[in-house]
């Protein structure tokens, strides 16, 4: 044993490990959708207040990510995709993850309330509670519908952004919520179809494990068919515009085609081309969400510039 191994502390994390605890990739999606929710709202905010609101929403999302990693360290250690996370790899102690998550949650909610209003702060607090407690602690290990209900947590950010600007809830913000809410199941079930051994090993009741892959393919199709009219419905509200309508029409048509292709395949066909269709559908689902919210942003820009 060298001297170095004696002083080596298992919990001596670098700064990056704490950043990783906040799930920066999930955070980027939260920042983007919250920004769109705030930007398309009919009420203008001071740029500094708007920036702060997005920042505090992002911190709140990161806090719930840290709480999730604290609770799920045992499953994360088993799954290949997540075994390198700070807590299962031993770089950050579980207690530290819990403390960071709780402290940042309180900070984010209080600061969002002070910067904007109590409706936005209340929605953020509920989102953190929903993701950390309802999804992570309760539903994820209990029901194969975990993805469906857990998706609600990821769907709240545009609503929070909208509430930060307007101080309320409306058809527009509920439809933006519904878009992400209905998009999440097909997105994650496509992932589960080609990352299957991971969830099996961890004992998380994914639909692929509990009800079979045939039924999962059918579920993807049903949710995609329900998603399309919701997405097109946004075009009819005050935040919709020609750009959004064109983008939504094209993307939803392609998304439904992809879901039908997934539904018509069986496992032998999927194994034969190494899940090419499922992987393609998953990648496209990311573009799908970004493009819908990007189009809302473009239409908002056109409206405020007077072009519409």
């Amino acid at each position: 044993m060298s001297d170095a191994t004696i002083i080596e502390q298992p919990h001596d994390a670098g700064f990056g490990d704490y950043v990783a605890l906040l799930k920066p990739r999930v955070m980027s999606l939260v920042v983007f959708t919250a920004l769109v929710g705030l930007a398309v709202a009919p009420v203008g905010l001071h740029p500094m207040v708007a920036f702060s609101a997005i920042l505090f929403i992002a911190i709140g999302a990161g806090a719930s990510g840290a709480l999730n990693m604290w609770w799920d360290a045992d499953i994360d250690a088993v799954m290949r995709r997540t075994s390198k996370r700070p807590v299962p790899s031993g770089r950050v102690a579980p207690d530290e993850a819990l403390a960071l998550g709780l402290a940042l949650s309180g900070f984010a909610v209080v600061m969002l309330g002070l910067a904007t209003n109590l409706v936005a702060a209340g929605l953020l607090a509920f989102t953190i509670f929903f993701y950390a407690v309802v999804y992570t602690m309760w539903l994820k290990r209990w029901t194969p519908q975990n993805i469906v209900i857990g998706g609600a947590a990821g769907a709240f950010p545009p609503m929070i952004g909208w509430a930060a600007a307007t101080g309320g809830i409306s058809v527009e913000s509920i439809l933006m919520f519904a878009l992400i809410f209905m998009w999440t199941p097909p997105h994650f079930w496509a992932l589960a179809l080609f990352m299957r051994s991971d969830y099996d090993d961890a004992g998380v009741p994914m639909l692929t494990v509990t009800h079979g892959r045939r039924l999962t393919r059918a579920h993807i199709l049903v949710y995609t068919l329900l998603l399309a009219p919701l997405a097109l419905g946004i075009a009819a509200t005050s935040i919709g515009g020609p750009v959004f309508f064109a983008v939504a029409l094209a993307l939803n048509a392609w998304f439904v085609v992809g879901a039908v292709r997934i539904w018509r395949r069986d496992e032998a066909m999927a194994e034969a081309d190494n899940f090419a269709v499922e992987k393609g559908f998953f990648r496209f689902s990311l573009l799908y969400l970004f493009a819908h919210f990007g189009a809302l942003l473009v239409d908002a820009g056109l409206r405020s510039s007077g072009a519409l």
Partner: protein, 61 residues
């Protein structure tokens, strides 16, 4: 004589310390910016301290 050997551990600690320092500075900047934004959008503030405030006087016709 001071110990000069740097272990990988020290690098990780340094990254943490620099990171926390950066966060504190950023937080101060955000709070200050937010304060300026809030105060400047609240409308004119009456600067009558320890003197008669005309707006508080009863209207006498």
């Amino acid at each position: 004589m001071a110990i000069r050997a740097t272990h990988e551990l020290h690098k990780r600690r340094l990254s943490r310390n620099v990171g926390v320092a950066g966060l504190l500075v950023a937080m101060i900047a955000v709070f200050f910016g937010l304060t300026v934004a809030k105060v400047s959008t609240t409308g004119a503030v009456e600067g009558f301290d320890h003197v008669v405030r005309p707006s508080l006087l009863e209207v006498s016709e």
